[in-house]
């Protein structure tokens, strides 16, 4: 009997430790899968879950707070996803929080992401339904990628056409590049242009520093002054001339001649005035139409 007791407690310890260890392992693995511990459920409807599977992680602020418990088809356009969430996360998830599907890395597992709502809203309750965000599908990504690739193809097509035209066309650009004759004419034109510009340079130089009349006109201050004084002299000279002419008209010797001239001038004026009166009465009508047609005339 004594011997029995000796080994029995060891056996008991062995078995207890083994079973305990196994139980603890099961517990921890189960906790990872949210089978034990206090949890609550949330639901969300999706148009497509894009490959989400039962057991995928649920993330909130980047922390794994639960797993996907069930995925059910409700109708032809909607899928209900049931989530198990840790109780400790409940106060932080507000009723206006949104659920979206994204993936863990480019090729990784799908992950359900709950984006936080506004803090003024109430916290979620058990079995609440959260609104869902449409996931960015790989297909959509590919589609938009295809669009831009098409654009690139178009651009490169145009570029190819352009370069073809440049190589083979008749335009100025293509001639510049490919036509030898054109380039030689271009060259000669440029040489001419250079020559003429050289001439012009010489001209401007001589104008600036030369002794000719033009250059003096432009540059010499003294010349300008003398020109001015010459003008003044001319003015006074013509004034004097006017006075002498007046004096000549009033002098006795030349009075007769001037009077005859005045009379002849008066007679001519009277004749002209008579002729004009006749003309005006006949032309007045046609003249007014003319004015309407060509307003320039009316100004004149």
């Amino acid at each position: 009997m004594k011997k029995d007791v000796g080994f029995r407690w060891k056996l008991g310890m062995f078995v207890t430790a083994g079973i305990l260890f196994f139980a603890v392992t099961i517990y921890f693995v189960g906790k990872q899968k949210n089978l034990f511990g206090s949890t609550f459920h949330l639901k969300s409807h999706f148009k497509t879950v894009s490959g989400l599977k039962i057991g995928n992680n649920v993330r909130f602020s980047g922390i794994n707070i639960g797993t996907v418990d069930a995925i059910e088809m409700i109708s032809d356009t909607s899928v209900m996803v049931d989530l198990i969430i840790e109780k400790s996360a409940q106060p932080f998830i507000k009723t206006d929080a949104k659920v979206g599907i994204s993936s863990d890395g480019l090729m990784g597992e799908k992950v359900l992401v709950i984006s936080p709502g506004t803090f003024t809203f109430k916290s979620v309750k058990d079995n609440d339904i959260l609104t869902s965000k449409n996931a960015i599908e790989m297909e959509d990504l590919m589609l938009s990628m295809k669009k831009s690739i098409d654009n690139v193809a178009l651009i490169s097509d145009n570029l190819a056409q352009f370069s073809y035209k440049v190589n083979n066309g008749d335009g100025a650009l293509s001639k510049m590049i490919s036509d030898e004759q054109f380039s030689s004419t271009l060259q000669s034109t440029l040489v001419n242009l250079q020559n003429s510009s050289n001439e012009f340079a010489k001209f401007t130089e001589s104008m600036n520093s030369g002794k000719g009349a033009l250059s003096k006109l432009v540059t010499d201050e003294k010349f300008g002054k003398t020109l001015d004084s010459t003008m003044m002299n001319l003015k006074t000279g013509t004034k004097g001339l006017n006075e002498t002419i007046d004096a000549a008209q009033n002098s006795i010797l030349l009075k007769g001649y001037f009077k005859k001239k005045e009379k002849a001038a008066k007679q001519i004026e009277i004749k002209k005035a008579n002729a004009l009166k006749k003309k005006n009465t006949t032309i007045i009508k046609s003249d007014s139409t003319k004015r309407l047609l060509t307003p320039k005339d009316s100004i004149q």
Binding site: D4, F7, R8, K10, L11, F14, V15, A17, G18, I19, F21, F22, T25, I26, F28, V29, G30, K31, Q32, K33
Partner: protein
């Protein structure tokens, strides 16, 4: 040649009948509880040091061996999970079972064989004790229940060995190591492996008992019984392992 083949099938038939007899006797009261507890002690507790050392070394070695390959991919952080996964799924059950085949199966074979040779079994029968019930049922039951426990210990100690192995080259605290291990583990990894170990235990006990119980008279047959017990038990372990993997694959 034909006789040899016939003898082989004869042996297999006898073994199957032996298993049937075990189940028949198992549900027939009374159960020899004291002998059962003693066998549990011998098979379970006494094998623990051996299993613990093996498990520890397996974890350590597996970590050190896998490290260079994983480091090449920059996936060293997967090392704990990978080691734990391979330990729990495959290595700990098989290594533990093999160790126990060597220790337990051969022990039972030699013990029962010598009892048979010295006619102790016959003497039991004469004194109105059912030798099958007293010797065989208790041992098979004990090994069926104790081997899984030993495997659980081997898993735990092996993972600990992995932790030590990981810390030889880089540093990681035990909490993070633990979480890395449990992140990778799922019930799919644990349950099939555990169920498998019950079969390992059952066949280790059954083959040991069968070889001892059916030993022919003569001293040399004791050694023969012990030897063939180890050989066939080890073979059975691998066959069961293969079947278990295929079944697991099919179901999960």
């Amino acid at each position: 040649m034909v006789i040899e083949i016939k003898n082989t099938f004869d042996g297999i038939g006898e073994f199957v009948l032996f298993i049937f007899r075990f189940f028949k006797e198992l549900f027939k009261p009374p159960l020899e509880l004291r002998e059962f507890v003693k066998q549990c002690y011998v098979i379970g507790y006494k094998s623990l040091p051996l299993v613990a050392i093996t498990g520890f070394i397996m974890g350590l070695v597996l970590t050190l061996q896998s490290r260079p390959t994983l480091a090449e991919f920059g996936a060293e952080s997967w090392l704990p999970g990978m080691v734990a996964l391979s330990l729990i799924r495959e290595i700990a059950p098989v290594i533990t079972a093999l160790i126990c085949a060597g220790k337990v199966s051969s022990g039972i074979g030699a013990e029962l064989g010598s009892m048979k040779v010295t006619e102790q079994i016959d003497a039991m029968e004469v004194s109105a004790i059912n030798p099958f019930k007293y010797l065989v049922v208790t041992r098979i039951l004990a090994s069926t229940l104790m081997i899984p426990l030993l495997v659980v210990f081997a898993d735990g100690i092996g993972i600990l060995g992995g932790f030590v192995g990981y810390n030889i080259h880089s540093e990681l605290n035990i909490v993070r190591y633990n979480s890395l291990v449990f992140e990778t583990l799922g019930f799919v990894d644990i349950f099939p492996a555990t169920i498998k170990t019950f079969f390992f235990g059952f066949f280790i006990g059954t083959i040991g008992c069968f070889m001892g119980f059916t030993a022919s008279n003569g001293t040399e047959s004791v050694g023969k019984a012990a030897n063939s017990a180890v050989v066939y038990a080890s073979l059975a372990i691998f066959i069961i392992d293969m079947l278990a993997v295929q079944l697991t694959d099919l179901i999960f």
